[in-house]
Symmetry: C2
């Protein structure tokens, strides 16, 4: 009985995710879902990456997912782009964004005039991986401070993602991290994963990331 309930939730979610994909296909918008542990640098990445896409003439929107507060959305306000905040607290403090929350958020965006919409998911390396948001691209951000074993310990996240960003590489000189082993562990879980090391603060790797996203643009 319990399994049936979970299945129904996932089936309902997948149906809404398909509806989202239909909508973004119609408007030729690339929907990119950023997932990670809390504090891996998703918001800082958006602060730096979005102006680089704007400089190439693209129009950007953001869906901010947080349990509570609008702190991340406020950090992005200087970019002068449409931002929709989803707070999951009224829905029981949900630990992830489901398609049922992303779909109404899309209603608030003028998709026909947006080339890229970034979803910043709730900071959590576990649950967001279980729910399809309808995104075209799933991206996991893992900070170098989190340790090289994380892909093996949280495999589903790395299995559902197309791209892994190894963030905060500016801190590498002060850490014991074996970057090659981290890459190997990521590829052991998902051999198709594209991997970019980045430092949003220094700008390292962001041009590669920008060009990779532009190539996927319909």
């Amino acid at each position: 009985m319990e399994i049936k309930i979970v299945r129904n939730v996932l089936e309902a979610n997948n149906k809404l995710a398909a509806e989202i994909r239909q909508r973004t296909a119609n408007s030729k918008t690339l929907l990119v879902n950023l997932m990670s542990s809390p504090g891996s640098g998703k918001t800082t990445l958006l602060e730096k990456l979005i102006p680089m896409l704007q400089a190439k003439g693209y129009q950007i929107g953001v869906i901010e997912g947080d349990i509570t507060t609008t702190m991340d959305a406020e950090r992005l306000q200087p970019l002068n782009i449409p931002i929709v905040q989803i707070n999951t607290e009224p829905f029981g403090g949900d630990c992830h964004l489901g398609a049922e929350l992303v779909l109404p958020a899309l209603d608030s965006l003028d998709l026909a005039n947006l080339d890229f919409v970034f979803i910043e998911n709730v900071g959590n390396l576990v649950c967001p991986a279980e729910f399809d948001t309808g995104a075209d691209v799933n991206v996991v951000v893992l900070s170098v401070t989190e340790g090289g074993d994380k892909p093996l310990k949280y495999p589903l996240m790395f299995r559902v993602c197309h791209l892994a960003l190894i963030s905060k590489t500016d801190l590498l000189p002060y850490l014991d991290l074996n970057l090659d082993l981290l890459r190997q562990n990521m590829l052991q879980i998902n051999p198709k994963l594209t991997i970019f090391p980045i430092s949003a603060q220094r700008g390292d790797g962001l041009a590669d990331l920008r060009d990779w996203l532009i190539k996927l643009k319909r």
Copy 2:
């Protein structure tokens, strides 16, 4: 109807948590539940703290919670202490430890001869806060690399904890973190929170932590 189901799960969990508290009260064991995002340094903390408690004559046990792998338990094996691994993957890749998993783990430990049992919960700053494990003390570990806004964005975790450890303080010189603001944000969510900054790698703050735990010992 859905709310009813969630309530039943939480009620069943709370009943088992009470049973756990009865057992550890009988054996005079202090059960300590460590929670945090992935990669905040829970395992490294246990590697350093446990020998310091052993040096004071205390007997220690550990319950390791992971979705999959026994990597953390293996890191603790040199300590030569009883360790019980709980992998939540067979239970649907659960993102937290519930009392229903901790209770059978206690069966594998000789509680009468253990002064402290540490639970290393699944790395997740959201869901573990929602489920009482039956622990006497809830501890959140937040790494300085995660940013000062996290208590405001993940308030439930800081609300249910007695102690907050600000970890990896050895990295502070390379970060933009305002440590006073982080403390203020923690106390804004939970004014009763005890806070220790620590560096497990350098040993900073660990003697304070050890003495704080010993004072709570029955």
